[in-house]
Amino acid sequence: MPERTARELFLGEGPGTGSGSQNLYVNMGPAHPAMHGIIRIFAELDGEVVVKGDVEIGYLHRAFEKECEIGPYNNAIPFTDRLNYVSPLINNFAYASAVEKLLDIEITERCKYIRVVMSEISRVCDHLTCVGASAMELGAFTVFLYMIKAREFLWELVEDVTGARLTISYGRVGGVKADLPDGFGIKVRKAFAEVRQVLSEVHTLITGNRIFMDRMVGVGALSAGESIAWGITGPLLRAAGVPFDLRRVQPYWAYDRVEFEVPLGKNGDNFDRYLVRMAEMGQSMRMVEQALERMPGGAINVDFEGREIPVDAYVDLGKQGKTEGLLLLPITLSPNLQGQGRAAQERVNVADKTVVMPPKETAYGSIEGLMNHFMLVMDGYGIRPPAGEAYFAAEGANGELGFYVVSDGSDRPYRVRCRPPCLPPVAALPRMIEGQMVADIIPTFGSVNMIGGELDR
């Protein structure tokens, strides 16, 4: 084809322009605000209609699976935090459960309830972020602000329990890092009241809103059969009317002991996905309340009597070797920053010291604890599940979050595979946007809830 001059291009004249319309190629991302930073859609457009979309990922690939192979089992916990940065607790627990399956150990009853409580709080955070961000991308900035405000209340709860907001590292193979803090139930009730208020405000703002519905109803739809063929799970599948929820169909932890409903959609379009997520938040909060009510073990955290010393002072004494009498000292420990109370540890973790990391106070405060700690983290030591393989699936906020762990009998995992819940919907994204308008890419991509850390690993 002969070269066109700039003038011909500008005026749409010259060879190649006279024979009907020409398709236009548009790169969205990988640094486009609506692409959440790290994904690229190479779209072929005919006018404003998407003819073909090619989705490119991998911009955030950090070799999660390779990194897991180089350290002991417990060292992978901080890596799993970074998989889904809005609901890292679920990733922590799912990985730990896969290793527990490999070890054939059962966590304590109280720990199961704690995992349910913290997972469901995370799920609400995740849905709040997803719905808020996609509403903002459609211009409803108020919704985003309200929902992030609600998420803040929940992140304060997470911070209370784990000591961190995002990189929580709270799960442990065989248990959790710490017990729930004093008065946690009261704080949860307060936070949930705020969240419920926000949810009802958001319903008023956008659920019947003309602009919002025009952009969501009938957009980006996938049928139930297609969703299954594409391996899609979670809210996207349920929006298409398939009642697949691992918490219901293959219950784990304490999910068979709490009552909840599985919200379903009908059309599998963006609007149904939004409604399913909104309803799921309500159900999650319901589950947390029941779990807190039924949690075995009586009061949360024991009331120690006697002298109290701050945790940091206790740890400093231990580090300086001033350990005389330290273990006899009754203390009230902050459960979130350093470790957990000695009495609580017995309750939360499994008794097997060859599996569970000791709390930091014990590691710093006694030679037995120090040795116990070292024996679990030193190169060549650590837990050694028998050779074999195990797959554990948990219901992540986006769908089935699976960990496939292969052990060769040594102290480090031979292979860790994470089945990311948001990969299948992103793979099916071209199917959802082809034939739609270019503006429909934005709400559809938002409804997929792509999480870069998990997608690229």
């Binding site: 991998g58 699976e65 054939d104 299954i228 594409w230 398939v242 697949f244 169909v249 699976g402 009998g409």
Partner: protein, 165 residues
């Protein structure tokens, strides 16, 4: 249907092409010969009582340094199947040698196999015969080697790409 019945069905259908079956920690696995895998997968998907309608996961394991398997087939390609209709699971595996590291594609059965297989190709260098578009998924095209292979050192640095680097 429980796992052992599923495995018995597979053995009855595929005969000697099922090389081995086992149960670890409640997960049921069948190791299928390379030439029987598409047959096994489509049987799993289409049989009314099995109805494994979802390819939940597809990945691979490099057994190069696995104790006791140094001389055996190097790679396992692992399929995790789930049935939404019947709520049961099974794991299928294919063992492949390094020299002939290729498996027939499953893209004809499930569209999601497309991306999963691209990822396995990218990370392990296992080819999928008949795949419509076998490109790297996570790494860039100029990347040399396959990072999840056991003989790919974790410290290896590759040169930056781009003009005039």
């Amino acid at each position: 249907m429980d796992g052992s019945t599923i495995l018995a069905r597979l053995r009855a259908r595929l005969g000697a092409r099922v090389l081995e079956t086992h149960e670890h920690h409640g997960d049921h696995t069948a190791v299928v010969a390379r030439e029987g895998i598409v047959d096994a997968l489509s049987y799993c998907r289409d049989n009314a009582e099995l109805r494994f309608d979802m390819l939940m996961d597809l990945t691979a394991v490099d057994y190069l340094k696995f104790p006791g398997r140094e001389d055996g087939p190097r790679f396992d390609v692992v399929y995790h199947l789930y049935s939404v209709a019947h709520n049961h699971r099974v794991r299928l595996k294919v063992q492949v040698e390094q020299d002939a590291a290729s498996v027939p594609t499953a893209t004809g059965l499930w569209p999601i196999a497309n991306w999963f297989e691209r990822e396995v190709w990218d990370m392990f260098g296992i080819r999928f015969e008949g795949h419509p578009d076998l490109r790297r998924l996570l790494m860039y095209e100029e990347f040399v080697g396959h990072p999840l292979r056991k003989d790919y050192p974790i410290e290896r640095r590759q040169p930056l790409i781009g003009p005039n680097v």
